[in-house]
Subunit: 110 residues, 2 copies
DNA sequence: CCTATTAATCGTAATATTGCAATATATTAA
DNA sequence: TTAATATATTGCAATATTACGATTAATAGG
């Protein structure tokens, strides 16, 4: 069906998977890395930096915006995107809880 | 096209997104959480625990196995799955580098 | 051998994702 | 106003994902 049955999972499980899904494409990983690397904001050079067409980059930016990891403000004809630091931190906290489950693990039969 | 252009990205970007993609479905998150929670191995009760059909669970387990996060050994007619601790740790390291990019961040124009 | 049990695989339908050309929108500059 | 520039949106084709019924394979117990 291609349709995830979100309703049978906890909100935590859905939140973790929603965040992870956004990271699940190399273009979006590359966009985020680039936004961190140049510690001022960039505008439209993501299209040159990454080798994808402008509508494709725009679509990926939309995904990142939707989940709140980036924000953009208009500067003339261009738009300046950057990481939303507060949301990035919050997201890290959610993922950390999931990723660090193993610290309390005792035995492992396999 | 539905086809990711992996070849234009770095191996690190592809690795991060591959891991994240596996976490990008709540059923796989739930499976991993359950495997951590019961600190002995489980067999086929994942189907009861999560509310999805057996072939669906089997398919998700396959994805998790493919990327190396879980392993299973045969015990009679059932198969005992558990987290691959070494690979889990390695995966955490890869993701941590990506998630902690913000610690060196200086300014933020937005 | 036959049957029950467990899990994988196959086949398929429904939906989602990716990518881009074409177009629309919005702002600046002349 | 017109042209140029930057980004978003639309529409569409190709491919991927999700889910499950039906079937298959493998093992255990009788």
């Amino acid at each position: 069906m291609g349709l995830t049955k979100s309703e049978i999972f906890t909100s935590e499980q859905n939140e973790i998977s929603s965040i992870a899904k956004v990271f699940g494409h190399p273009a979006r990983v590359a966009i985020l890395q680039h936004l961190f690397k140049i510690d001022s904001c960039i505008c439209g050079d993501l299209v040159d930096e990454i080798g994808l067409a402008q509508p494709t980059i725009s679509q990926h930016l939309k995904e990142l915006k939707k989940i709140g990891l980036i924000k953009g403000n208009i500067t003339g004809t261009s738009i300046c995107y950057c990481i939303d630091k507060d949301n990035w931190s919050q997201m890290k906290t959610v993922l950390s809880v999931f990723l660090n489950q193993d610290i309390n693990e005792k035995n492992n039969c396999c």
